[in-house]
Symmetry: C2
């Protein structure tokens, strides 16, 4: 479904890590978090079973996921935590720093700017922009709020790669277009709307209203899983995933 796999093109695969399934990619950050947590607790080695439990998935799925990155892990022993952390980080591209701009300094935009969880991985918020004149020049998380009119200049100058949209829905498409025109190729959209972007740009959407509606649906019918209790399962958030709509 998702077009992240290059259509039919590029079938030749010399390197082992070629064409990691989207479902796997979506889980790698979860594994990474579980691993870093284990590392902080002094664990140096984990079996797929233990790590799977930590991450809330089945062990078979975990092993298959990891096998897509290569054969790290030692039979009879397990995986070396630190080494695996490095490998997953590298695969996800977290060894480099990513430069992020947040557009919209409302409730959500400010919460995001203040959030420490970004910088702790390789994501640096380099700019925070808004249209409201009374917000401009206010300082949020050590950054001054800039006028949206500066958007093109800032993106080019700061070499922003990832844009975060936290504005009302009606403004999102226009701002997205401007960001893309200025060179952004990845967008994280919090506005409740569909964005049209050229094919080389990837959009991911976070929509809280949708999440609540899905919960409501399941609660309305059989009350969640349907069985009494027990059973292993995942924690949803996201599944497949890329995005683009004809530009």
């Amino acid at each position: 479904m998702s077009p992240s796999r290059p259509a039919g093109l590029v079938r030749q695969a010399r390197t082992p890590r070629q064409g990691i399934p989207d479902a796997t990619v979506a889980r790698l950050p979860v594994y990474l978090r579980a691993l870093t947590s284990l590392a902080e607790h002094g664990v140096t080695t984990v079996s797929s079973e233990e790590l799977a439990t930590s991450a809330g998935v089945g062990s078979a799925k975990l092993r298959k996921d990891l096998s897509h990155l290569g054969s790290y892990g030692t039979r009879g022993v397990g995986y070396e935590v630190e080494y695996l952390v490095y490998q997953i980080s590298r695969e996800l591209g977290l060894t480099q720093d990513w430069r992020v701009a947040i557009v919209g300094a409302g409730n959500l935009g400010r919460a995001l700017a203040n959030y420490g969880g970004f910088a702790s991985r390789g994501f640096t918020v380099v700019a925070l922009l808004d249209a409201a004149t009374d917000l401009i020049d206010q300082e949020v998380a050590g950054l001054p709020v800039l006028a949206v009119t500066e958007l093109e200049r800032v993106i080019a100058q700061e070499q922003v790669q990832i844009g975060v949209l936290a504005t009302p829905a009606c403004a999102a498409q226009d701002l997205c277009d401007r960001m893309v025109a200025a060179g952004v190729t990845s967008v994280l959209n919090f506005a409740p709307c569909v964005l049209n972007v050229p094919g080389h740009v990837m959009v991911r959407k976070v929509d809280l209203s949708t999440e609540l509606q899905i919960l409501a649906f399941h609660q309305q019918r059989g009350a969640a899983a349907g069985l009494g209790y027990g059973g292993l399962g995942e924690q949803s958030q996201d599944g497949p995933g890329a995005a683009e709509v004809a530009g």
Copy 2:
């Protein structure tokens, strides 16, 4: 993968709307939003093609999704917007009001409490709780912040069905357990951790850090879709989805 379908049981399906696929459920809110937007613009009828474009999906997928709810829609004409809005709303359980409690009145919790998009659908935030003494009794979005020690009482008294976790990860599991024990059966979790819950409770997770990492991954490789431009696609956010881990 998600346990929302009762294993192998219940194969007989007399009613048309029996066992809607998870992937479909996750898209219904998107259709609903597109439809309400069209309704506001005075549109009374849409074809699957138009609606699909509005929602950012393919028309075949949209028709199949809608067919799971029943045969609303008229051949040769399309769907009546208002009627379809009602049917989807009913299917999602939005005809009743859902009572939500937010735990954690930090940056994110306050942003959520202030967000109008919840109430506009059938979700009412009935309580906002926190542990920090200096936040308690502060007023946010017309609600006083309550002490977490009140959690059990408030959930029972206000008949909270959905709990939202916006606390640090370390406190999330404990608070989740308490909410579940107090009667909550649906949890929306913003803390970056996996929650263990009994089988009858559904958890959905929203993790911004994960989203950024997925964007980084795709950008690091072929730069999104891989092709030059054009092409239809989805906007990701979420896919399958339930959750429970042996209690």
